[in-house]
């Protein structure tokens, strides 16, 4: 009698879930959230968290063999006793990006008024610029925007800078766009 080696079926990795948490800040939220995710076998991937004028805001990508509904159930204590708003949703794997292009730091500051972010980012979008990181802060009257932007290869950087300067003049704010070089050491 012969024995044939059996090939195990290949199981695809579980889908990545995006867990978004919002609410009043207090110590311990990250520990409670990540303990609950660890409790359902969740493996954390990229995440970001900040305070937006005192509001806790976090997005974490997690993979777990547990179902989405089991992950949602694990979030219930945070929602009920923790007073937080939690959203869990499955994300498709992202399309592969070429990664080509040059990184720039964008800095904008000036008197607050509606439309600063919209006008400035529209200029970048027109030139094919992709924002890969962005933060804004509002002081008592001063508005500050910082972003990292990837411009496609062959982009006319002087034209982008000139268009940004035009938009900034109309808004009454200051703008600068400087390249960021990666140095391999």
């Amino acid at each position: 009698m012969s024995h044939r080696a059996r090939l195990s079926p290949v199981t695809p990795p579980p889908p990545v879930l995006a867990v978004t948490v919002l609410g009043d800040d207090r110590p311990g939220i990250v520990a409670e959230l990540t303990e609950a995710l660890a409790g359902v076998g969740g493996n954390l991937e990229d995440s970001t968290m900040t305070l937006l004028r005192g509001h806790f805001a976090m997005v974490v990508l997690v993979r777990s063999d547990a179902s989405q509904s089991a992950v949602e159930a694990a979030m219930q204590p945070l929602q009920h006793s923790g007073g937080l708003s939690v959203d869990v949703r499955s994300l498709p794997d992202p399309a592969q990006h070429s990664g080509a292009g040059q990184s720039f730091t964008l800095r904008v500051h000036g008197a607050d008024r509606p439309g600063i972010v919209a006008s400035i980012t529209r200029v970048l979008a027109r030139h094919g610029g992709n924002i890969v990181d962005l933060g804004t802060r509002l002081g008592s009257a001063l508005y500050v925007l910082l972003a990292e932007v990837v411009l496609p290869e062959g982009a006319d950087v002087s034209a982008v800078q000139a268009d940004l300067a035009d938009a900034a003049r109309r808004l009454g704010v200051d703008v600068s766009l400087h390249p960021v070089d990666d140095d391999l050491l």
């Binding site: 970001t48 990184s103 990181d133 960021v180 140095d183 391999l184 050491l185």
Partner: protein, 173 residues
Amino acid sequence: MPSLPVGRVLPVVQAPDPVLATPGMAVDPTAPEVITLAADLLATQAVSPGCVGLAAQQVGIAWRMFSVDVTGHPKTRTCHGEFVLCNAVIESATRKERGREGCMSVPDFTGDVARARRLVVRGQLPGTGEWVTIETDAFEAVALQHEIDHTDGMIFLDRVAGPHAVHPRRTYL
């Protein structure tokens, strides 16, 4: 630099290999195994595109020695060419500026790190053991600090400026 034998190209280790977090042992720069490793570091660096420095930890050995060669890099001002230093220490470091750096041992990320752009380093040459003082600036200063960190068991991730200072590496040389 005293002349060295022909070196071998060694495999470069990557984080989280524990050797990268191990402070290096002081070495005798005249010992044959140290002279051999000096040649191997230069040979490995020379075949690694874009690589301007390599520490012993990056080839799996926790010794206080590294190679540097920033010749031809667009950000280089003062340049001492290709050299290896043993037991190097920083004597003075001024004019800190923030830059974004990557490392062969950390292939997935780059990080924003503040490094001095004026630097004085003392160390010993392999072979003779002669103590030398290197005064440099700009890119060579950054490379020396990055390599001396390796010999102290540190990688750039130990020095990044904050939670938004680590980035996915987009270009692979």
